[in-house]
Amino acid sequence: MSELLRTANLGKSFGRHLVFSNLNVKLSAGKVHGLLGLNGEGKTTLIRILLGVIPADTGSIYYKDALLSFRSAAYKEEVGYIPEDPFFFGGMRVGELLDFNAPFYRRWDGRRAEELLKRFSLDRRARIKTLSRGMKLRLEMAVALAARPALLVLDDPTSGLDVPTRHDFLQDIIRELADSGTTIFFSTHLVHELERIVDHLFILHRGRLILDEAYETVKNSIRRVRLAFPGDSPETLGVDGVLVETRDGPRREIVVYPWTDDKKKKIDGFSPTLFHVEPLTLEEIFRSFVAG
């Protein structure tokens, strides 16, 4: 089965505040899935629900086609989790954290754990409290990866880290991906790094999944079009899929998804003096989608 995990009509509210509803997310095996969204719009909530940390109000989750409940625990043996704020029990040492986790996971690979510790330059006897944020993240990675997960879920793991650390972190992910074909589900609002590795893109906005598409598809067909018109610029261009539109006198800039030949022809029909089509970075793509 190519779908490792999927949700059906997942919904969650906090009191009267609806976080999201009717969420249908599918994670394909071996692919990197990116979840983008503005702060506080439910990314962490969704991830917590997937990990069975909090229950959903409506809907269901299927892991490898088996229906999960809030009480299900077995599937978590195959899921590695790196939360937004890494948590460690007070006063624990690196080795103790590994030893605490090891008995939980059937597939725990002690040797791998040691390799990872070495690779990440983590000392077994170091007190976790004394580690830098970047080192703490690597420790989380070591714990998560030592269990040989089929799915790695990361909730904005790199916020607050400097660029080199983030770079290293991404490399670790990539190596893991290459070695084990792990499925990755990565929520972040630091979009730039995601761009290089993401296979499938989700954008969660105002309680709904406004984008659920292969990244390549989006990248290939979303375009920013810079236009200028002689004289009176037309009220509407008659083109759909315009995500953002800005006007500045005779100049007009639109972001269109999907950009097709038909639309090109249509705009041509207005004889613009400036007609420039360019791609967008993931950052710009995201901003365009959440602008509306």
């Binding site: 069975g52 940390v53 909090i54 229950p55 599937y75 978590k76 704020d85 948590f87 007070g90 605490f100």
Partner: protein
């Protein structure tokens, strides 16, 4: 996971553990410091059991999940592949080990501390099977408090709030259980009262624990209000189920039945009346049959017969948990039952009191009784009412804080009443040797006269059965002689107030009139049995006896109507009764239909000898002519 959890919990709660150790050291020092003062040692031990350990258990339990609330530890734990109930259980057991270690340390302290060694009965933690109530206090109470607090700790990270809540839950539980068992107690359901306490005491913490686990399994921990709501719902369901279970048990196993008991027995030559938890029964001597007469609940039901009437006490309910006493009268055959008076009326001077004991005058025209726990407990304890319910009159005996009452009998004309009463021993009195007083109350004038005092146990004085014609002898009681330092059998003539004593070397411990009022059988402290003749004014027989059960001396012997003395035979157990003839020689022994380790009461009525099996509260009678046993109750 369990091992890691234990280590983690010990590390986290080490502060609390040190607090317990500090307490241990303080108590040890205190015990040493006050080793000479028994009272203080007692107080310290109580403080340890009733305050320190319970508070510690509450705090330990309440701190259960507090660390999980910090920094999102709960989210971390829940994201591990572990069933949430396992997390709960692992934590619970881990903390339990801390509790058990602390309890054991304290137990060892009380067992081994040199200051406490000499008084093992008081302070010993029941490491062995010593005192059940201490066992409960020492182990079970902390355990239940801990479980309650731990179950509640998933509601909040504020340990003090949870501890407070848990204590509150316990107080409410205690009150509810105490009220419930008190009402059962008052209705004579003693063993079921205890069962109720134990069952609810176990089920409520269990319900809370289950609710706690369910909450863990269903609640969104990031939403405290919802979590609390789910917990409350689950707890309510489980507690209601517990109550339902207890109710089912009560109905199904008939647990809440009154304990089987035979309270009082009164016999004359026609019939034998007795009160039980089910009501009043009559055993007709002529027909040899048991008959149920009145169904009234009869706690300590007192009976008195005279003429063709029987008067008895019963129990009524006036609303709420409080019971009220009632005085009723009926014909000897149980018909025509009427209520004479009751204590439920707020206007009545008898309001709220219990009636006992009761005595009807020989002509059956008046009934005398004592009122206990009435509105004015120390005044006007003696009351007399006419047999038709009219003319209620109270008498102040002038004895404050009186304890035990016995109505010895009415005077010849029915105008005076002879009464025995003791006074409550005040704390600090050196011993309980104050003794009882024999009083004569003039029922018309209300005047009270002390005829004798320093009467010793058994606080028992009696007049022989009155016959129509005369009554011989006088009032017999056992007088404590301070100078001779022994108990002397004394006879008092109520008219002349002349006293006559029976002169024997040793103390007399019990006596019994024969059926004609002619002779007195008595037991001495040297296991001698004697017979005193009223006519001759001397001891006519005295003999050492062996092999008889002389426990409960006042009930140890009985006369038959054909002048034999019945005694219980003791051969390891009591399994037969013997009959002694006029020379106090064993004439016959008859096997009982049961054998018992306990002393049992014997009566004689007509041709029947009646014995009670105090182990299962059955009444057996034997027809002395046919020697057939018959189960009366």
């Amino acid at each position: 996971m369990f091992n890691r959890m234990i280590v983690k919990e010990w590390k986290e709660k080490s502060g609390l553990f040190l607090f317990a150790l500090a307490g241990l050291v303080l108590f040890a020092l205190a015990f040493s410091g006050y080793s000479k003062d028994k009272n203080t040692l007692d107080i310290l031990a109580s403080t340890l059991l009733l305050i320190f350990l319970p508070v510690f258990s509450l705090l330990l339990g309440a701190s259960g999940f507090s660390s999980e609330f910090q920094d999102g530890a709960w989210a971390y734990l829940f994201s591990r592949p572990v069933k949430k109930w396992r997390v709960w259980l692992a934590k619970y057991l881990s903390l339990l080990t801390i509790l058990l270690v602390v309890i054991l340390l304290f137990a060892l302290l009380t067992k081994l501390h040199p200051a406490l060694k000499p008084a093992p009965d008081m302070f010993n933690f029941p490491l062995m099977d010593e005192d059940i109530s201490y066992g409960i206090l020492a182990f079970v109470l902390p355990l239940l408090l801990f479980t309650t607090a731990f179950s509640l700790s998933i509601l909040s990270e504020k340990t003090h709030a949870v501890a407070f809540l848990a204590a509150l839950v316990w107080i409410v539980l205690q009150i509810a259980v105490t009220e419930a068992s008190l009402s059962l107690f008052e209705r004579g359901m003693f063993s079921s009262a205890f069962s109720l306490v134990s069952i609810l005491g176990l089920l409520v913490p269990l319900s809370l624990a289950l609710a706690s686990v369910v909450t863990l399994n269903r609640a969104d921990f990031s939403q405290p209000k919802r979590r609390t709501w789910i917990f409350t719902k689950s707890a309510a369901v489980f507690i209601l189920a517990s109550i339902g279970l207890v109710a089912l048990l009560a109905l199904g196993t008939r647990m809440f039945q009154r304990d089987r008991y035979v309270y009082n027995i009164e016999a004359d030559d026609k019939a034998f009346y007795f009160s039980t938890e089910k009501g009043y029964f009559k055993f007709d001597l002529a027909e040899g049959r048991t008959e149920k007469l009145a169904r009234h609940p009869s706690m300590w039901g007192y009976i008195s017969m005279a003429g063709d009437k029987v008067v008895f006490t019963s129990y009524g309910y006036g609303g709420g948990w409080r019971g009220f006493a009632q005085l009723r009268i009926m014909n000897r055959d149980g018909k025509d039952e009427r209520l004479l008076l009751g204590t439920e009326n707020q206007e009545s001077p008898l309001y709220g009191g219990y009636i006992h004991p009761v005595r009807m005058s020989p002509h059956g025209d008046r009934v005398a009784f004592f009122l206990r726990y009435g509105p004015k407990p120390t005044v006007q304890d003696l009351w007399v009412v006419n047999s038709d319910g009219s003319g209620l009159k109270g008498y102040d005996l002038g004895i404050p804080d009186a304890d035990y009452y016995l109505i010895v009998g009415f005077g010849k004309s029915g105008q005076s009443l002879y009464v025995l009463c003791t006074q409550n021993i005040k704390p600090g009195d050196k011993d309980r040797r104050a003794g009882a007083r024999l009083l004569r109350v003039d029922l018309d004038s209300g005047q009270v006269e002390t005829l004798a005092d320093q009467i010793r146990k058994p606080y028992f004085a009696s007049m022989p059965a009155e016959t129509e014609t005369s009554w011989a002898g006088g009032i017999v009681y056992i007088q404590h002689d301070e100078a001779a330092s022994k108990e002397i059998l004394t006879m008092l003539d109520p008219e002349t107030l002349e006293k006559q004593t029976v002169d024997i070397e040793e103390s007399v411990s019990a006596f019994r009139w024969d059926k004609s009022g002619e002779r007195l059988a008595f037991l001495t402290s040297n296991s001698r049995l004697g017979v005193y003749s009223m006519a001759e004014g001397r001891v006519v027989q005295i003999k050492e006896i062996a092999g008889y059960d002389l426990r409960w001396p006042s009930e140890a012997l009985e006369w038959t109507s054909d002048d034999r003395i019945i005694l219980r035979k003791l051969e390891g157990e009591v399994s037969s009764i013997c009959f002694l003839d006029a020379n106090l020689a064993e004439q016959k022994a008859i096997r009982l239909p049961f054998s018992s380790h306990y002393a049992s009461r014997i009566w004689n009525a007509g041709k029947y000898a009646i014995i009670e099996n105090t182990e299962n509260h059955q009444l057996w009678g034997i027809d002395l002519e046919t020697e057939q046993w018959l189960r009366i109750y």
